[in-house]
Symmetry: C2
Subunit: 165 residues, 2 copies
DNA sequence: ACTGAAAAACCCGCATT
DNA sequence: AATGCGGGTTTTTCAGT
């Protein structure tokens, strides 16, 4: 069995893990509240958070928006296959996709498909426009298999944390 | 053509859109900075943000964590098909999946598959454990088609905003 | 690596227009 | 709906352990 050690070699103790756990759920929690939960004062909390930010364990803090309330009620998932897989063709496709604002996720895959895309649009009409006028203008595209999200059972930005970090 | 009006009927002007745009990128921006960018004082910014929170346009504020740096270096996408689609069987599967911490996304789909799952684990070994001991313990599962993320071209939590909101 | 305290910056309500 | 001010919190720094 291959051991997969944390490649970035960042030592996180249980206090760090707890801080991350809290901030993943609510970035607005105060150092004071964190401190009282962890039975510390604000200074070590402050310094630990700054350290996690500096190490890029914490990448950013963001507001999460309800897409329905800003007129983006349709989420689609597209599994994409390309014709050719040369380095240049892959890079060209990635550049193409990176410039389409409707695409909120684009992952290069190992498996049956080449790319997974997550699309946020107003409605099916806007989706058709995306497919016809935006995605399929890339010459190397072979085929796209789309699915539409009816309901979200789980949808979290929080990375599941175990004590082995 | 069917007109799809914003179903929640929330009127957002360009100042609101700009506030949301900023907060989607950086939740830590101060009202003061937002105010100077939008050429206002802090009070209207404060009141608009509070309104957006109250209307649940802004759902929460979260810290985004680099999964690699906390030992979750493997992301997998699973397309799931179930045997039976009765209301009870679907609800049972959803409840099952909602209790697996490795599952950060579970969407019920219209299309060729029933569910899309996004999985975050340490490595392939942990993924196998997830499949064998966690996911496939649901009796109604027919088959799972897994893909593995090699690279992320785009990966944002920001909803693309147009002026028609 | 932590405590405790103090300085600086910001949040948030209020009076006003 | 906006401005401007002021009290209360929070963030951030610092001396001491």
């Amino acid at each position: 069995m291959i051991e997969t050690e944390n490649p970035s070699s960042i030592r996180l103790d249980s206090i760090d893990i707890n801080i991350i756990r809290q901030l993943q759920n609510n970035a607005k929690i105060t150092n004071k509240d964190l401190a009282s939960q962890l039975e510390l004062t604000t200074t070590p909390i402050y310094e630990r958070v700054k350290r996690l930010e500096k190490l890029k364990v914490i990448e950013t803090y963001v507001a999460l928006i309800n897409p329905v309330k800003v007129g983006k009620g349709l989420m689609a998932l597209c599994m994409v296959r390309l014709e050719k897989h040369t380095k240049e063709k892959l890079a060209a496709f990635e550049k193409h996709v990176a410039n389409i604002p409707e695409v909120v996720e684009c992952y290069h895959l190992a498996g049956q498909y080449d790319y997974h895309l997550k699309i946020l649009v107003r409605d099916m009409n806007a989706f058709q426009h995306f497919i016809v006028n935006k995605l399929s203008t890339n010459e190397n595209l072979a085929n796209v298999q789309s699915s539409f999200v009816m309901s979200r059972i789980t949808d979290t930005t929080a990375v599941p944390l175990t004590e082995e970090s």
